[in-house]
Every structure is written in C-alpha cells, then in structure tokens.
Amino acid sequence: MSLEKLIHDVNSKCSSLKDAAKLLPDASPAEYKELLALMVKQARALADQLAALERAP
C-alpha cells in the first residue's frame, strides 16, 4: 500500500468517524446503534490497515 493511499484512507475514515459522532446526540435509539456499529467497524478497519503496515517489512 502506498503512503499516498494511507493518507487518503486515514483522512476519509477519520472524517466519516467524526461526522458520524456528530450525529449521535440527535440519533434515534435504532440509528444510534447502527451508527455505533458502523463506527466500530470503521475504526477496526483502520487499525487493521495500520497493523498491516506495521507488520510489513
């Protein structure tokens, strides 16, 4: 993975996380749950991507 792609992915994923977090206060209980699940998945995907980079030679 290129560093350029990493910068893009970190930026995009963190932007979505930030925007989703801002929606939480006004979200209905069902939407709150859905947003949180997607946020957890997003955060894990980003962590996995960074871990892969850490493991790379």
Partner: protein, 448 residues
C-alpha cells in the same frame, strides 16, 4: 425545501450512512462502486450526484470517470474526496464537475452544496428583477445581484434604506435563494419593548414571568436552519444587542425561565432605515454587534432616486388584476410624484387604482388617488383611516378595535420604558385589558 433526486457514489458504509442522514429530506440512491454508479447515472432522473473519488481498494480515482457522464446528462456533480491536492481538484473541474469539497464536516458541506445547486438552478430559471424584486435601476440591480451571490452562504447581511423600499422583500428573496431548509422568521424590533422583544426572540417557559401561563417558542428557535430577519435593528437596546450577540456567536441560548440551553443554526439578515455609523458613534449600537450583523451591506435607494422603477412597479404590482392604461399626462404626474412612502405607497396606490378605476386612467384620477394615499399616510383628519375601515369590514369591528388598542398600548409601553403601572394609569385601562393585549401581541388568543 424542494425534494431532490440525488445519487451518492460512495464505497465507505459509514460515509454512506452519514450522507443518508444528511440527505434524509431528499430521494437518494446509493451506489457502492463506479460501475453501479454509472448504471444509475445512465438510468437518469438525478438532479445531483455526490462522487467519492477513490472507490474500492485500488489507488485509481475511479469516481473521476463518472464526472463527464454526469456533466453530459446535466446532473450537478459534486466531488467529495479525501484527496484535495491541487492537481486532483483541477482535474475534477476540467472534467466538468460543478462542486468539490474535502471530506469532513458533512453537515455544513452538504447543506452548502445543495444551496449552491438551488441558487444556480433558480438563477437560471427566474428573473428576480421581473418577478420578486422589481427594479430597472442599474445601481440597485448591482447591489441585489451582489447580495444574491452570498444568499447560500452563512454571511450575515445588513439591508439599509428608507422605509418602504423593499427591505423585507429583499430579505425574503435572499432566504428563498439560500437553499436553507428552515423558515424565514421576521421580527420588527421597534414594535416591542425590551422585555417583550427578549421574550419574542428567546421564548420562555411556563411561569417565567407574570402572565406567562404557557411556554412560548421564540423566534431564534423558529428560525433554526433558516433565516432570522431583524427589521429596524437600530431600535434594539444595548442590553438586547449583548444578549443577541452571544446567541449568534454561540448558536445557543436560554429561553426565559429555562435552565436548558437551546441550539439554533439561524442565519441573520437585518435591516434599518437609520444611519448605522451614527448609531455607533452615539453609543446606541455596539461595535461588536454591528460587526456580527454586517457581513455584507446592501443599500436600497428611495424611489425618488430611481424614478425609472415607478411604472414597472405599478405594472408588476397590478399583475393578475385588471389591465389599466395611463394617458401620457397621467404617466407624467406619476413620475413627477416623489413617492415618500416608496414601494409601500405604490402598492397602496395600485390597490386603490384596481378598486376604483377602469380602462384608461386620467391625470385627474392619478392626482385624486395620490391625494388619498397621502392622506392615509399622514393625518387624514378622520379618526378612522381608510385602512382601519377596510380592516374592520374584512375582520369585524372587534378585531379592528383589538388591533387599535394593541397599537396604543404598545406605544404607551414604549414611551414608558415598559412600565406597566404607568401604562395602566395613563391609558386608564384595567390590568385585564393590558394583559389581554400583551397576550395578543405574543400571538396568543388574549380574550377578555
């Protein structure tokens, strides 16, 4: 707001969910890949499309390929990207995209994009100067055009001009071109005492003060995601300016008697006929408050300084009613008149014209109607004006009498700094009548 057909091409599920919430008032299709996006674009029917550039796992900016297709189909294309390098932005515009923003802060980004789209669409299909703000005057047109450019932004606008020049109308036109989802909420600051203005703007909870039998939603909250139009801002007290400044800056405020803060994302448009610089010099307007409300200043000239507008205004205000013609001498007299009441006076003239004239209007008829309008505006010598008489005919004498007494009570409150005891003794009225009038001023039934 108009419900739009929108396509979002985005591979990130969380970003799609965020967009779904932001675009909940519209009909939205989602595509996860460039090929799915292409199919939906080809099927047609979308007014806007939001394109993520990097779709799927690869390095290629696949979303870029969809821009020419969107442009060819007349779809307003918007790139939303994690890449905002100059080369990418340039390439996207070269390919024909209409808008580009860097991801992050979607609440504001999406709203601004839709406002720009609606503004562009409105600008293309309607002639504001023929329908909404009639003027042939080059200087006034330039000022209004400049203001319309900023209609979709958050920039506060201050409209200056003599009474009746169309300040409220312009504020409404700006709101209608703003693409803002909320309402246009207007308040005339000079029509309220300080206490009443605070209650009207901020609202109050039940029992916040004597007579507050029910809670009241204030104008600031009513204007959430819309426009708050503050007319006659020059009459606002320094104390109120301080409170409003805080609410504008923080987008948050406490209704009277409430512990809980309310938030409201309103845009401020204000207007005054007074010399704002003189108000600041005289210490009647706070400089920081002025700075906060005058992002762009628009000045509207009196009709006496744009006489080329008189005949087009008469034609526009009479549109839909019966067609009348003016003799050359009648036109000359219309143009010779200074119209001190400005557009409001023209409007009244047209109403009288439509009610009593037929066919070709003579100069004598023009003179007679202008005299009537002048008499109505000034002191007519009659205790009941023509307007009051017509109001009573339309709404009944009780409603007319209520309106009359409310005006007198409001004026007495203004003259006495809001002191209710002085108003009660000066006007020799009962407490019950005073509170009924106050309730009506707040839009409550106010029955005795």
């Amino acid at each position: 707001m108009e419900k739009l057909a929108i396509l979002v091409v985005e591979d990130d599920p969380l970003a799609r969910k965020v967009m779904a919430v932001q675009l909940k008032d519209h009909a939205v299709d989602f595509a996860e890949t460039a090929s799915a996006g292409r199919k939906l674009l080809e099927s047609g029917g979308h007014a806007l499309c939001f394109l993520d550039l990097q779709l799927g796992g690869g390095d290629k900016a696949e979303g870029m390929d969809l821009i020419p297709l969107a442009a060819a189909r007349g779809v307003y294309s918007v790139v939303m990207s994690g890449h905002d390098g100059e080369a990418i932005v340039e390439r996207a515009y070269e390919l024909g995209c209409d808008d580009f923003y860097s991801k992050g802060n979607e609440a504001s980004n999406v709203g601004s994009v839709i406002a720009r789209y609606l503004n562009k669409k409105e600008g293309a299909k309607s002639d504001v100067f023929a329908e909404r703000f009639v003027t042939e005057d080059a200087e006034t047109r330039a000022a209004v055009k400049e203001a319309l450019k900023y209609a979709p932004s958050e920039l506060p606008i201050l409209i200056l001009g003599p009474s009746g020049t169309g300040k409220t109308n312009l504020a409404r036109v700006l709101h209608d071109h703003s693409g803002r989802a909320g309402a246009f909420v207007a308040i005339n600051c000079s029509a309220y005492t300080e206490d009443l203005l605070e209650a009207e703007l901020f609202g109050y909870k039940k029992g916040a003060f004597t007579g507050a039998n029910d809670g009241h939603k204030g104008k600031l909250l009513a204007a959430d995601r819309g426009t708050l139009f503050l007319d006659e801002i020059g009459s606002m007290s320094l104390k109120m300016q301080t409170k409003l400044l805080k609410a504008i800056e923080e987008r948050s405020f406490h209704p009277l008697g409430s512990e809980k803060a309310e938030t409201s994302r309103f845009r401020v448009i204000s207007a005054t006929l007074e010399d704002v610089q003189a108000l600041i010099k005289a210490g009647k307007m706070r400089f920081d408050f002025f700075q906060r409300i005058h992002g762009l200043t628009v000045e509207l000239k009196a009709l006496a300084r744009r006489k080329g507008d008189i005949l087009p205004l008469i034609a526009a205000l009479g549109r839909g009613g019966k067609r009348l013609a003016f003799s050359p001498e009648a036109k000359h007299r219309l143009l010779a008149h200074d119209w001190p009441g400005n557009v409001r006076e023209v409007k009244r003239f047209v109403e009288l014209l439509a009610a009593g004239e037929e066919g070709r209007v003579s100069p004598e008829a023009v003179d007679r109607l202008l005299r009537t309008v002048r008499a109505e505006q000034g002191s007519s010598g009659s205790f009941a004006s023509e307007e009051q008489y017509r109001f009573a005919l339309e709404n009944g004498l009780t409603a007319a009498a209520d309106r009359f007494s409310d005006e007198i009570i409001r004026r007495s409150l203004d003259d006495n700094g809001g002191k209710k005891t002085t108003v009660l003794s000066d006007l020799k009225i009962s407490t019950r009548l005073l509170y009924a009038a106050l309730a009506r001023m707040r839009g409550e039934p106010g029955e005795l």
